[in-house]
Amino acid sequence: MTVLSSVRRVTLRPRRRLTPALLFLAPSFIILGIFVLWPILASLWYSLHDWTIGAKEQPWVGLANYVELLNDSRFWGAFIHSVVITVFSVAGIILLGLALALALANDGVGNRIIRSAFFFPTVVALTSIGLVWRFLLDPDLGLVGAITRSLGLGNIGLLQSPQLALPTIIFVNIWRNAGFVMIILIAGLKGIPEDRYEAARLDGAGPWKLFRYITLPALRPTMLFGTLIMTIQSFQIFDLVYVMTGSGPLFATDTLVTMLFREGFVNFRTGYAAAISWSLFVVIVIISALQLRFFRYNDVD
């Protein structure tokens, strides 16, 4: 009996397979749907209204929020700051991460300790990092102020100067993330088969040629991953700016996300804030698509 029934079950399986599979997926789909997909779509709906959380009537404004956004100098300022932060941060993070990875790829005890030190900022919450740096950079009470004074440069308010605040944020962002990229690039380096180097050396390649023609091409997928993650993260930068400068001085460090937060949660303009978030979404989709395209092309090459 048991044998028969199990055989029967096997023969029945192909027809009924679909239902349990979908049921297995259902929890994820429901969670994603409720907590990810629905809010995304709802925010698009909000962005087409003069939306006020809790108000009885939400006046439909069509694309007026987007039109206002395009004419808002604050938005363009925030957009440019986000682009500047992203371009310089990503370049700095990848270059520094690569340099660190090449320097610290060997598994000595000393290297492991130094690696941990560089990786450490990645583990710490951005808010804590922002607070610590802000204290260090205080021109009157912080360590950096004391150093600049002892060098005869006087008190330099790095975060109080509209010219220097943005570069300072970028510096801290690079300092924070270079360790992460270093770790993934070290993993990438270890995945390169030793025989390729051997073959290249037999062909007479020097250190530069080994790096240029063996290491770099082999690291490309890892670097794509690092670049993509860092680009998205830098474009969405919020915590660091919010804690270190609060978008100031004079909106010199205002980014798309800090502006979104200000409009949505301080000025209660939910519809406008939703429009900002959709602009950010579109920009990130475009950049990610370009990056994937660019790197894939090279890969095939």
């Binding site: 297995f24 929890p27 429901i30 006020t52 009157d140 009470l141 109080q160 609060g246 004079l250 000025n267």
Partner: protein
């Protein structure tokens, strides 16, 4: 058996989601256990004055056996993010201080998330509205209904570092002219004469402007920053900061406080909440009234935090009873004595015990001349962040007075809807 396992897992998963989503029963806060009504209160009071508020709650719970109030304190930012949607959907606390900015109440009134306070009248069990300072009542009244009570009322005074004054041989200033010369005289050797914050702070610059007879907006909410009076009220202070360096530029309130606490600033204009921290930092502290203005009158900033009830609370009666207790004469007198805050009640102004207290008396004496910052000005939050803070920031960094005041005025008029007439 084999097939029922995944089904059970899915069912369990769904069950979790369903219960997760229906956790709320559609009404704000609270609950009852054995006939005791439980009320939750959410505030952003985390400073030196926090124990004063906790004492009010403790005393209320001790004297009201049928109500149990639990108060929590979170940063103001956190409350601002959570409360609008929480109150709209009938969740969140029964009672809350929605923001340290009293103008925010307008937003909650607009979304009908706050309960109009009707339990008013005489006696300890009712909210004694006619005993509150009248500008506070005006601030929270919309269309003739009161939507919040003041959780506190603070005035700003002049804190000074006695040791630095003695070393420089300067006497504490009593007039605006003396204030300016003292600020200049005390600025030397890495110390600042008068530390001024211009962002993320209790407003200090408006006080300086008022001292010189200037203002930000007029009765029609039109900017007066670019009038002759407005400009001449800014000019001397901008000069003192930009040229004489009596204060660093671009400080937040916290940074200014830190400088004063570190003994690197001789004077700061601040509220009563700051006293405890300065004393703890070991500053030889003096607190005096803000010096008299150019006409010999007392003027300073008054600041209040609203305390409001969720429109969807299950216990509107009890919640109002709590607000009545909070603002009662007994509770407020005790609060003033513990925190140094002046009283929000006019009937405590002449209280002998409060008058005898050296700290409370300084802050109380300035109540008659105290003015709120942008009271009921439309879009006041943006007028502050987009126009005023930006203007002070650019002036102290060298922008010409006329340019900065013109562009700030244009922005303010646009935000407040002033027609320019």
């Amino acid at each position: 058996m084999l097939r029922s396992k995944p089904l059970a897992a899915v069912a369990a998963g769904l069950g979790l989601i369903v219960t997760g989503c229906s956790g709320g029963d559609g009404s704000a806060g609270g609950g009852t256990t054995a006939g005791v009504v439980e009320l939750s209160v959410s505030t952003g009071f985390t400073g030196g004055d926090a124990p004063g508020y906790e004492q009010i709650v403790k005393d209320f719970n001790a004297s009201h056996q049928n109500i149990k109030v639990t108060m929590s304190a979170e940063p103001w930012d956190t409350i601002a993010q959570k409360l609008p949607s929480a109150w709209m959907t009938g969740q969140g606390p029964d009672i809350a201080a929605p923001s340290s900015d009293p103008n925010v109440i307008a937003q909650y009134v607009k979304t009908q998330s706050v309960l109009p306070i009707t339990l008013t009248g005489d006696g300890d069990s009712k909210v004694n509205v006619d005993k509150f300072a009248s500008n506070l009542v005006d601030e929270f009244t919309y269309d003739g209904k009161l939507y919040a009570v003041p959780a506190n009322y603070a005035t700003l005074s002049l804190y000074y570092n006695k040791a630095l004054f003695a070393a420089a041989g300067v006497k504490p200033p009593t007039t605006v002219a003396e204030l300016k010369s003292a600020a200049k005289a005390l600025t030397k050797d890495g110390t600042y004469g008068l530390v001024l914050a211009d962002n993320n702070t209790i407003p200090m610059w408006p006080v300086l402007q008022w001292l010189e007879g200037g203002d930000i907006v007029d009765g029609k909410n039109c900017s007066v920053l670019n009038t002759a009076a407005g400009r001449s009220s800014l000019q001397p202070w901008v000069g003192l900061v930009a040229d004489d360096k009596v204060s660093p530029v671009g400080l937040t309130g916290a940074e200014a406080d830190a400088l004063f606490s570190a003994g690197k600033a001789a004077m700061e204009i601040n509220g009563p909440w700051a006293a405890a921290g300065y004393k703890k930092a070991g500053i030889d502290l003096g607190i005096i009234k803000v010096p008299l203005d150019t006409n010999g009158k007392s003027v300073t900033l008054g600041s209040t935090v609203p305390l409001a009830i969720s429109a969807k609370t299950k216990y509107p009666e009890q919640a109002q009873e709590f607000l009545a207790y909070w603002t009662s004469k007994t509770a407020q007198k005790k609060f003033s004595l513990t925190t140094g805050f002046p009283s929000l009640r006019t009937d405590l102004a002449d209280d002998p015990e409060l008058r005898a207290d050296p700290v409370v008396s300084v802050f109380s004496a300035q109540v008659p001349g105290a003015r709120l910052y942008l009271p009921k000005v439309p879009n006041a939050t943006q007028v502050d962040s987009e126009a005023y803070v930006t203007m002070i920031g650019s002036l102290t960094r060298g922008t010409a007075l006329n340019d900065a005041t013109d562009s700030a005025s244009a922005k303010i008029d646009e935000l407040t809807g002033c027609s320019g007439t």
